[in-house]
Assembly symmetry: none
Homo-oligomer: 214 residues x 4
Amino acid sequence: MKTPASAAANPSLRERLRVLTSRAILDAAEVVFATQGLQAARMEDVAARAGVAVGTLYNYFKDRQTLVTSLHAYRHQEVIELFEQCLAAGADRPFDALLLEVVRILLGHFDRHRAFFVVLMQSEAELGRREAMCARRQAILELRGCFERVVARGVAEGAMRADDAAIFPSALFALLQSAMMHAHFNEATTPAAEQAAALVRLFLDGARPRPAAG
Amino acid sequence: MKTPASAAANPSLRERLRVLTSRAILDAAEVVFATQGLQAARMEDVAARAGVAVGTLYNYFKDRQTLVTSLHAYRHQEVIELFEQCLAAGADRPFDALLLEVVRILLGHFDRHRAFFVVLMQSEAELGRREAMCARRQAILELRGCFERVVARGVAEGAMRADDAAIFPSALFALLQSAMMHAHFNEATTPAAEQAAALVRLFLDGARPRPAAG
Amino acid sequence: MKTPASAAANPSLRERLRVLTSRAILDAAEVVFATQGLQAARMEDVAARAGVAVGTLYNYFKDRQTLVTSLHAYRHQEVIELFEQCLAAGADRPFDALLLEVVRILLGHFDRHRAFFVVLMQSEAELGRREAMCARRQAILELRGCFERVVARGVAEGAMRADDAAIFPSALFALLQSAMMHAHFNEATTPAAEQAAALVRLFLDGARPRPAAG
Amino acid sequence: MKTPASAAANPSLRERLRVLTSRAILDAAEVVFATQGLQAARMEDVAARAGVAVGTLYNYFKDRQTLVTSLHAYRHQEVIELFEQCLAAGADRPFDALLLEVVRILLGHFDRHRAFFVVLMQSEAELGRREAMCARRQAILELRGCFERVVARGVAEGAMRADDAAIFPSALFALLQSAMMHAHFNEATTPAAEQAAALVRLFLDGARPRPAAG
DNA sequence: TATGAATGAGATTTCATTCAT
DNA sequence: AATGAATGAAATCTCATTCAT
């Protein structure tokens, strides 16, 4: 919004400013929603944090709902892109390594936006009920799709059982969540990413002790 | 003049009515909160559903917050009691069977109050932030304690690895949640309880195919 | 309400009980209104203090307004009776002594019910506006009448000027009030009655120093 | 972006409007509170009278209590300023004349805001009880201080006795009140200010007839 | 007659949204 | 395009009063 470099070119200065302001608002919204809670946060707080007037919020987002949805989409998109990159990059790696990498990357991302993701999860529970959130539902399904692709690949490679495969995607997702919640509750302790290996071990080999003859 | 017994030879009629009304309100609240969402639900709706006047709500619960908290406590208590009964009853069973039983019982309970538990989870995410919810936090810790005892017992019996045991309780909890969320999203499909066996298999033996020599 | 002595006679036991309960309620109301303020006090508090149920209040007083009014009347009546007794008893005394006696008696009564009289004054200010309070207005006019009689007598005896006599009654009343308010603000200090002599001196001879040749 | 001056070349227009609105609300509040009573008046009525929406009230005053307190402060301040001006202006006048002037000025002001001052007095009686009103108490003490200064000066000049001086300030204040109450009850009659001379006569020389040798 | 739970109108307060500047 | 004061619908909570027991 104040980058001096953007003064040189003028092709679509307006447009670039719009994007910057929009980002600034989304970033402010993330912090405010995460700090105060999705419902307790007031538009005025978001505006104050973003350094703009309330009215400006409405120049960029139709209404509160839209702002929340956009924020979700924004972060979700990042996760999905990360996910895709992992999958693409690890196309030729052994499945175990790929899975570990995916889990690590995702948890790393979660760690960076921990507070917001907690809020995001909170609102996911609402999804069954509200209609207006189909955009958000969409994003979630997309994320779910990523997990399903990972699982599908694991099964295809013979690295995972096919019989219970139906529950694996949501189970995997749930394990990631559990790591986050764990990190969230024991605030300021070890980041969730450090649990990546243990999670993958649990997911792939279970909690049962390995048979003696490893 | 103030002894409740002296009222009109109705030793505890009043008292019994109080309990009934209190229950009616809590039941109504569960439905309304689950249907409309924790925040969207209005006290008036709860009252209407319970068949009482708004004021009556406040004769039983100090304020909205207290109602929500009481509802949480009410359901949580049931879960914990179920849990305890399982643990007590299965004291001499093999660990695998015990775990399966526990998971099945819990998911069954979840199925019966599905909508509300989704709401409950939603609000659990808030816990890091609000202080006033220590009662609720207490309940959650208690539940967590139950899972820890199960895990501890599994480890003691040699049925579970000790190395990653730290993450097992929340992982187990998360897997249950995933089953619920799964059931919640695919509304009106198979109950979560049917996933019990698959979940336990995954938790104990992992997603990896069993070695050939089954 | 529980006086064992009243069990002996039965001529109008019911009636006597009614009076006792009525008194108990009025006494409780005085304390509660004085402690919590005329508006902040709740009927429930009055009932609790009186040791009866809320419903009982309404068996004795039509509504809140009536209770307040009755309380006013109750106390006012006492004041007026005191006043009358003084006037009657002092019929043959010199005016100065009579006035001093009246002031002393009234302030003494005020001291005994200080808190409530403060509340009472508070509500007197409302009088210009509310219609339903004509009963109260009546009582006040009656009290005013007492003061007017004292002044009239003073004038008749040549102990007071006739020219400004119109303002003397309310001035005298105001001086009494000032003594009470003074006592009220400097809580728990000397009782208002001790100011009686000074007040009368001020009222009769003014604040100006006496001419040297007394 | 936040400097008020940068808005739209309207350096202090906003600010001026704020002051005007604030005044409008206070003026409306005075009328409404005085007309309907301090407690009976509803915020909605104040808003309607001020010609703004309810919400606007809360943009200017945190809550009802604050509005009332601000109103008190607003009027009290005016009285005190009037008082100070009198005292300053009359520094070299004989005490009798000064006192008369003070009384006349104050009663004049009272006359102009009669209804509200009655309400104000009403609430003064509450002062002993509520703590949150320290601001108001402060104002009252300040006013009392003014009266004390007048009395001190009178005593110093030998125009008033020193022995009973302790009760003079509140007595003087009470006499003013009595004039107001008198005017209030005999609504729409002669203004209180006309009683100024009689009041001062009473206060300085008492109710007793002057000794023959005038 | 006493009781006290139920009632529900009504008051305060909040905050997403609008719109004149 | 940005601003921020104004708006007013809506939600929570209170408490005088009623009435079945």
